[in-house]
Symmetry: C2
Subunit: 252 residues, 2 copies
């Protein structure tokens, strides 16, 4: 029974894509079958895994192509990706004219959900129709938050949106967890971490992802961090996070 | 005769807001009258200057309120801001139903343009209707690029969009410059810098903004970097950038 986790935060550059790829890869390394669904028109999760889709989520959402038909393997067994394409930028507008426009992704995901242990949806940095489709399709939302001032600002709006989706389109939607990313030994990072842990309490993962240049280098080689540099602090952090998530729900 | 510079890049977290605030402040310190127009629903430029608009760009774009009526002073003489609000997130959808929806911002900016030497438009991380309004209103586009792998990926799409706006809605639109941000002494940053300078040649500013924690701390105090820590590498870099820009066009 696959669990769909939407990775979202409208603040840009907080580690959504990096977390989809590397948490996904870490869970795949533990033998879980993982699908990453890239619905960001920037297609960073797609290129970060060294892939380029001929057919992509654009055709799935707007031309009725089956999701199964576009899923690609990656270098890591058990890790798969449904690629995006830059055409999806125009698609976000076109999607607005489709009936039941918020439910398009959830209809197609239900076809493959049970073929995987986890499905991670990588969202663009906005609360528009693509991210809305992600929230409507998901069992839960993982929220990466960068340990910086602006990162705190937008979280309230994201939580409001999640609550609205929960009360209208997806009553089962929960917060999977809050992930602190790009942590460094600075006063700013410690202050932001303290504020977030006070506010979200046990929803915040114990595992914190440190700022680690190897995480920024790995996508240039099309590899998840564990295939690029398994000994790096970045790789170790995502492996630890995977363990923490598996401990929270042993049955999958 | 004010020049309108749109600061845009759909990649998130590359330093759009930080550049609007600190380049704007540096030019204001040189005696130029500067307006920052915040059209990002995250309203980071607004909070980063310690402001909170009662009326905001939402009311200007969607309720016909005059731009002059919402402009706020900041702690720095000559630096002003037209604030945003999170309501603008819904506004991006509402704007879609307004006639001439791409030209709404340019109509209202033409009323104040000549009261300032420079107007900087801070855009959200997307190529949607709000950023389109920014591109249609502008004389030129300043593109911050983070020295990392994903930052390179999306620039082509942004350039395509700029060319399309230039050939349809705003024939005068030019590229003001490419600004390398968050530079650090790593192999990755050097490689990305080399690639960008080879591709964009003299369009890339000589001044490079280093990664500097003081730049990330300053918005927490609602101050541009020069009022928070004028001796920091971040403050010095934006002051140098301001000089480089003024040298390129002495007459304003
Ligand atoms: N822990 C980390 N340490 C160092 N660099 C990181 C880390 N996590 C992510 N990065 C780098 O920071 C940049 C932003 O990360 P990423 O692209 O994953 O964020 P995002 O939230 O998906 O961005 P967007 O909002 O544009 O989708 C990327 O260049 C990435 O390689
Ligand atoms: N040169 C720098 N050194 C260190 N930190 C920086 C630098 N420039 C920006 N930052 C920090 O990095 C984060 C991203 O910067 P900023 O918010 O300006 O980017 P943006 O492109 O406006 O993001 P968005 O796409 O969400 O609008 C912020 O927390 C900011 O304080
Ligand atoms: Mg991303
Ligand atoms: Mg910004």
């Amino acid at each position: 029974m696959g669990k769909i986790i939407c990775v979202a935060n409208q603040k840009g550059g907080v580690g959504k894509t990096t977390s989809c790829i590397n948490l996904g890869a870490s869970l795949a390394a533990c033998g879980k079958k993982i699908l990453i669904v890239d619905i960001d028109p920037q297609a960073n999760a797609t290129t970060g895994l060294g892939k380029k889709g001929i057919k992509s989520m654009y055709e799935v959402l707007l031309e009725g192509v089956k999701l199964n038909a576009i899923i690609l393997e990656t270098e890591l067994p058990y890790l798969f990706i449904a690629p995006s394409k830059t055409d999806l930028a125009g698609g976000a507008v076109e999607l607005g004219y489709v009936p039941n426009r918020e439910k398009v992704l959830s209809k197609t995901l239900s076809q493959v959900k049970n073929d995987f242990s986890y499905v991670f949806i990588d969202c663009p940095p906005s609360l528009g129709l693509l991210t809305l489709n992600g929230l409507v399709s998901a069992d839960s939302v993982l929220i990466p938050i960068q340990c910086e001032f602006y990162a705190m600002e937008g979280v309230g709006k994201l939580i409001d949106t999640i609550q609205r989706v929960k009360s209208t389109l997806n009553p089962g939607l929960e917060i999977e967890g809050i992930l602190l990313t790009m942590w460094s030994r600075t006063k700013l990072a410690r202050e932001v971490e303290e504020e977030i842990r006070n506010y979200f309490k046990e929803k915040v993962y114990k595992t914190v992802i440190p700022r680690n240049i190897r995480l920024a280098e790995a996508p240039g080689f099309g590899k998840p961090i564990m295939l690029y540099d398994i000994l790096s602090k970045g790789a170790q952090a995502y492996l630890t996070l995977a363990q923490e998530i598996l401990k929270r729900e042993p049955q999958r």
